[in-house]
Amino acid sequence: MSENPNNWPLWEVFIQSKRGLDHKHVGSLHAADAEMAIENARDVYTRRQEGNSIWVVKSEHIHSSRPEDAESLFDPADDKVYRHPTFYTVPERAKYI
């Protein structure tokens, strides 16, 4: 956050490109409030029909995992192949499974 209160805060922008799809992070912008952030996001990120819906979130409200924790967070999944359906052998004659 900038020290000057007159500087507009930073917002992260998420766009849903089509009904039924996820909102996806596309970038950020500065705006005085949420309404203005949505208006600016529309001008900046949806000039070519990229959007059907816009979410904006103040950047300061986003918390993220730390890169140095990546190993302890994600490596435990590496040796659990039994969480995937392809791990299991089933009789060839069985259908729809």
């Binding site: 970038g27 005085a32 409030d33």
Partner: protein
Amino acid sequence: MTDVKNLEELFQAKIDAEQKIEPKDWMPDEYRKTLVRQISQHAHSEVVGMLPEGNWITRAPSLKRKAILLAKVQDEAGHGLYLYSASETLGTSREKTIDDLLSGKAKYSSIFNYPTLTWADIGAIGWLVDGAAIMNQVMLCRTSYGPYARAMVRICKEESFHQRQGYEIMAVLAQGTPEQKEMAQDALNRWWWPSLMMFGPNDADSPHSQQSMTWKIKRQSNDELRQIFIDRTVQQAEVIGLSVPDPLLKWNEERGHYDFGPIDWDEFWNVVKGNGPCNKERLDARNKAHAEGQWVRDAAVAHAAKRAKRKEAA
């Protein structure tokens, strides 16, 4: 504790394995500094680049051309913003970045310090200037810093319309009256060499290039990109009956490339140092726009505060 040398090795290993570097990852100070400088210069170029083209919006020869030019200039503003966003992920503040442009401390692409004298210049800018920029930007879609690469993918998607509309303007003029064709040729003559300079100094005179290549910020050298641009553009000029203003230009069968005449690097450095035809005009225009927009920024903050208070009361 991991020491810096070890961290640097891990960092380089990631890059060698074609993994992107993301904002919270450890990175060498020099990598961060190089990116901040490059991305903000790139952003400033998009923003200042609106000025020479904006010059022709009110005088575009038809409503169609006017709508196209407006859309293009609006795109450039958007591209500036994507890039400012990317540079902020490196810990810079937007205000500081803009201040550096306004005070003249930060650079932008020197090409925008040339004037747009005729309508054909709008064609030449789209075709040559955006064409040269695209060469660089396509390469940067694979740059090692994630947010920069993602901004570039977005920009490249939009940029090819810019080049094609410029080439179309030139093609139409070249098929018009002798005066119109002459106008197109004149624009090509004036924009050709500055466009070649956009790729930067020769590799031998570009001391930082090697480090940028090792870090995969850059992935092709200035001279490589310049050569591809020349090979493609000469052919495009032939198709519309215009000629590239270089008496030494000649196809080299053995190299499989065009040989071309020497670039006037004195001119290039002179414009970089602030002595181009429009350096002062461009900076004055940016400062004026920024100063005159102050009340809008203030009003937006006041309005947001009022709206927040009303919501609280409700």
